[in-house]
């Protein structure tokens, strides 16, 4: 049986890789991918702890909800990125610096 500490360490490392990328990258699509990576690190923790709740399945259930929410977020964020690209011809979040008017 794998100890919970192992799962927590793996998920912590994944989360920190995501944190590094989210601060250092200059590309909105890559930042979107990395947000998915960090969500997955959190889901790994939910699932690992959810093993100890056989009756109510709370961990797995909220892992499923998190996956569905990530899907919804990605659809909206991609639509926003496409619109930003149409308007500014770049998807570097650091270069998008003026409002509509």
């Amino acid at each position: 049986m794998i100890s919970l500490t192992d799962f927590m360490v793996v998920s912590a490392v994944l989360f920190c890789i995501g944190l590094y990328m989210i601060v250092s990258k200059h590309n909105a699509i890559q930042i979107l991918i990395v947000i998915e990576l960090m969500l997955n690190a959190a889901i790994l923790n939910l699932v690992a702890f959810g093993r100890y709740d056989r009756v109510a399945n709370s961990g797995q259930m909220f892992a499923l909800f998190a996956i569905v929410l990530a899907a919804a977020t990605t659809a909206v964020a991609l639509a926003i990125i496409l619109n930003v690209y149409k308007r500014y011809k770049t998807i570097d979040p650091g270069k998008i610096d003026n409002l509509k008017d």
Binding site: F7, V23, I29
Partner: protein
């Protein structure tokens, strides 16, 4: 070392290595395809945590849905985008990225310290769950239980999620609509 432990270390090595590759590579398409590998390895980790239904959902929704959507948007956004990505200088470690590295490393230290020092296997509720045999056995079939729980105990979050999904659908369709001619 038992087979399960070996598989766990293998899967987590694949997940971490491909995540590092996603972080290090200059090529956006390559990083998207390496992210496939990360997600599949994470699905393997979910199976090892006895959550087979979540693993299947991960493969179907993430790998089948989200990544295809990202690739689709990436291909739609045109050739200038590709050129722009190849021309940005992108060394993995440079002085401009020092704050990011510092932030990530300090966060990692904190998180790993927490993970080691709370001794998660001896938390009270986990001890109780082990004592009452309330943990998932390797041969248990949990999908039926998940379905029953989804329709009884978690019905309110389920409905809230469904409303939110519809709002997101309408919002995405509205955002990606062609603007009307003035």
């Amino acid at each position: 070392m038992s087979m399960v432990q070996f598989l766990f270390y293998l899967m987590s090595f694949i997940a971490l290595a491909s995540a590092l590759f996603v972080a290090a590579t200059k090529n956006l398409v390559r990083s998207i395809f390496m992210f496939f590998i990360t997600l599949l390895a994470l699905a393997g980790l979910y199976v090892l945590a006895m959550a087979d239904f979540v693993a299947i959902t991960q493969v179907v929704i993430y790998v089948g849905g989200i990544l295809v959507l990202i690739l689709f948007a990436f291909m739609l956004s045109g050739k200038e985008n590709l050129n722009y990505i190849s021309e940005q200088q992108n060394k993995f470690i440079s002085i401009g990225k020092l704050p990011a590295i510092l932030l990530a490393v300090l966060f990692l230290i904190v998180l790993v310290n927490v993970a080691i020092n709370i001794h998660p296997d001896s938390l009270p509720w986990i001890q109780k769950s082990v004592a009452y045999k309330n943990y998932i056995q390797p041969d248990a079939a949990m999908t039926e239980n998940i379905g029953v729980n989804l329709m009884t105990r978690y019905l309110l979050p389920f409905e809230a999620i469904s409303i939110l999904l519809m709002i997101a659908l309408v919002g995405a369709a509205h955002l990606s609509r062609k603007e009307a001619k003035p």
